[in-house]
């Protein structure tokens, strides 16, 4: 199973990034109410005003009533879930502190795969005939170009 190698990774990254993460951004974490990052509460994400646009969009989008940020953006299995939160938490804190990220914010390719998988978590059966293969570069049917607005409403 994949979770074995994942576990190794978890261990390594937990140690390394935890160190850097704590050293670098304890303050950010504290001040931006970082603890809430680990919850499922969407408000946790808007603690960074940089997420404001996505938050506002989410409130008006079709999934507002049925899915929160984490349902779409964070893996649903336990270990990858907290691993992802940690990794993303690290990058987001770093980005927020140093203001060195590209704007407008763009989802990272890996997180986009996670997102796809989460679409299938809920809609897997519905789209079973059009098999989606998230993460398989050649065979993947990408949901996002057609359904970009489901999470945050139209951008155009």
């Amino acid at each position: 199973m994949k979770s074995l190698s994942n576990l190794n990774l978890v261990a390594i990254i937990l140690y390394c990034s935890a160190g850097i993460f704590i050293g670098l951004s304890v303050y950010t974490f504290y001040y931006a109410q970082g603890a809430s990052y680990l919850s499922n509460e969407p408000k946790a994400c808007v603690n960074c005003h940089i997420m404001r646009e996505q938050y506002d969009g989410w409130q008006k989008a079709s999934h507002h009533a049925v899915a929160t940020c984490n349902d779409c953006h964070i893996p649903h299995r336990f270990i990858p879930k907290y691993l992802a939160k940690l990794k993303n938490g690290f990058w987001h804190s770093k980005g927020f502190t140093f203001q060195d990220f590209h704007e407008p914010i763009r989802i990272h390719p890996k997180n986009r795969i996670t997102l796809q998988k989460n679409c299938l978590y809920c809609h897997g059966e519905f789209v079973s005939q059009i098999a989606a293969y998230p993460g398989d570069n050649r065979r993947m049917l990408d949901c996002i170009p057609c359904h970009r607005n489901v999470g945050h409403g139209p951008t155009q």
Binding site: E125, V127, S128, Q129, N137, R138, M140, P145, C146
Partner: protein
């Protein structure tokens, strides 16, 4: 209750009721396993007109008589119709007057029938090993043989319009390309240097050092395949040499002048224009080529996205196999990506198409004027040699005009490119007239 009912439906949507193999042509049999797709497929018999397209096979020559002048001396000047649904492709070919006024080769069937088994059969008869491991060899050899046959002989070997097996692998149901014309052409295209940002797998193959041949069925992404299966037939083509081998002229690229320059190199002509005496070219349905120049292709939007959009049927989602004008189902074809009302989207298409149409008529007038001037000059007794430069300009102009006219979206697939091509048409046609005029003093 509703939800659980739908979940149940969803779980059991594929019953493999029957066995399907590479020899199963009959869509009815496939339909037993995939009834929803089959239902859509069958509906391509429907006929409904849109402002510039749709599926009524009206006669284009009656709609706009300029074309009788432009096609004078060629079979298209006799019978040329609006295309309609896939269900008609074989019978429409059987019935066109074009087949009666001129002998046509078996090559015609490549795009109007489920022809692969016929290719294999012909190859095996000709001595290629019947073994399954020689499948591709059978197809390519049989293709050559059938292309060269008289139409009727080949016609007797096929029985269905495009069928499931032409786009799908019988085992995995994945998309695949079967048509030799396309397989050859896409390899040639890959080798060209001109950039193809809308075909990422070719760009990747080029970047990776162009190892072996580019193999569309193993290298293309799924999204590309959703256009390639259509590119099997919706392309410009010609019959090469005595063997009438079907060739898509992409050896220099997909743009109108690249194709022209390929034809010019071998001095190819489709026919000699009866009024002007010019060796001219005929363009046929370059949908794939025009789409390639548009913003949709560049954005990764495939033919199937618009012409076979996903639709909801109960608890599952399927591709609408009722291939047709997207203007007949704007909600599924366009609105997932574009958040405007159906009326607004329709209006946008029509603004683009009306502009194209107006320019097209302007361009037709110019080409017809040139043909008439050439006619008068000939009546005056001016010799062919002197008319050469004007005739060359007619060839250029007519090729461009036809490229837009024969393309079936009335400019929508690439609006600015269509207008650009028509602008060049006008320039060449009017310059041709000037060339003829220059000869006038000589005759006085």
């Amino acid at each position: 209750e509703n939800v659980s009912q739908r979940k149940k439906e969803a779980r059991q949507h594929v019953f493999r009721v029957v066995e399907i193999t590479e020899d199963t042509i009959d869509p009815v049999i496939w339909g037993k396993n995939y009834p929803r797709q089959y239902d859509g497929y069958r509906r391509t018999v429907d006929e409904e007109r849109t402002r510039h397209g749709g599926s009524e096979a009206f006669n284009k020559l009656d709609e706009d008589p300029y074309w009788r002048v432009i096609f004078n001396g060629y079979a298209f000047g006799i019978d040329y119709r609006e295309d309609r649904g896939h269900a008609y492709m074989l019978s429409d070919q059987d019935m066109t007057e074009r087949l009666k006024v001129a002998a046509q080769p078996g090559a015609c069937l490549h795009c109007h029938s489920s022809v692969i088994p016929a290719y294999r059969e012909a190859a095996i008869k000709a001595g290629v090993s019947a073994d399954d491991s020689h499948r591709q060899e059978q197809i390519m050899k049989g293709f050559e043989i059938v292309c060269a046959m008289p139409y009727q002989d080949a016609r007797n070997m096929v029985s269905h319009p495009v069928s499931c097996i032409d786009c799908h692998d019988s085992e995995t149901m994945q998309l695949r390309v079967t048509r030799p014309g396309f397989l050859n052409a896409i390899q040639a295209l890959a080798k060209v240097d001109y950039p193809l940002p809308h075909l990422p797998s070719i760009e990747r193959w080029r970047k990776d050092g162009r190892k072996d041949e580019y193999d569309v069925n193993t290298m293309a992404t799924r999204q590309e395949m959703r256009s390639f299966v259509c590119g099997q037939c919706h392309v410009e083509y010609y019959f090469k040499g005595e063997g009438k081998l079907l060739v898509y002229p992409w050896q220099k690229g997909l743009r109108v002048e690249q194709i022209e320059s390929y034809y010019n190199e071998t001095s190819f002509k489709d026919w000699i224009h009866k009024i002007s005496g010019t060796p001219v070219l005929k363009a046929q349905h370059p949908e794939f080529e025009m789409w390639s120049q548009g913003i949709h292709a560049r954005s990764g939007v495939a033919c199937a996205d618009c012409h076979m959009p996903y639709k909801r049927e109960g608890a599952i989602k399927i591709s609408d196999h009722h291939v047709r004008s997207p203007l007949l189902n704007i909600d599924t074809a366009c609105q997932t990506c574009h958040h405007f009302s159906e009326a607004e989207l329709k209006a946008r298409v029509e603004v683009i198409q009306d502009r194209t149409k107006a320019l097209m008529i302007r361009a037709e007038e110019a080409v017809v004027a040139l043909i008439q001037d050439l006619q008068k000059a000939k009546e005056f007794g001016i010799s062919g040699e002197q008319l050469k430069s004007a005739q060359d300009l007619q060839r250029k102009a007519q090729w461009r005009l036809d490229f837009v006219a024969a393309e079936n979206s009335m400019g929508f697939h690439a609006p600015q490119e269509a207008a650009r091509i028509l602008a060049e048409t006008i320039d060449y046609a009017r310059q041709g007239q000037l060339e003829v005029m220059k000869l006038q003093p000589v005759t006085q």
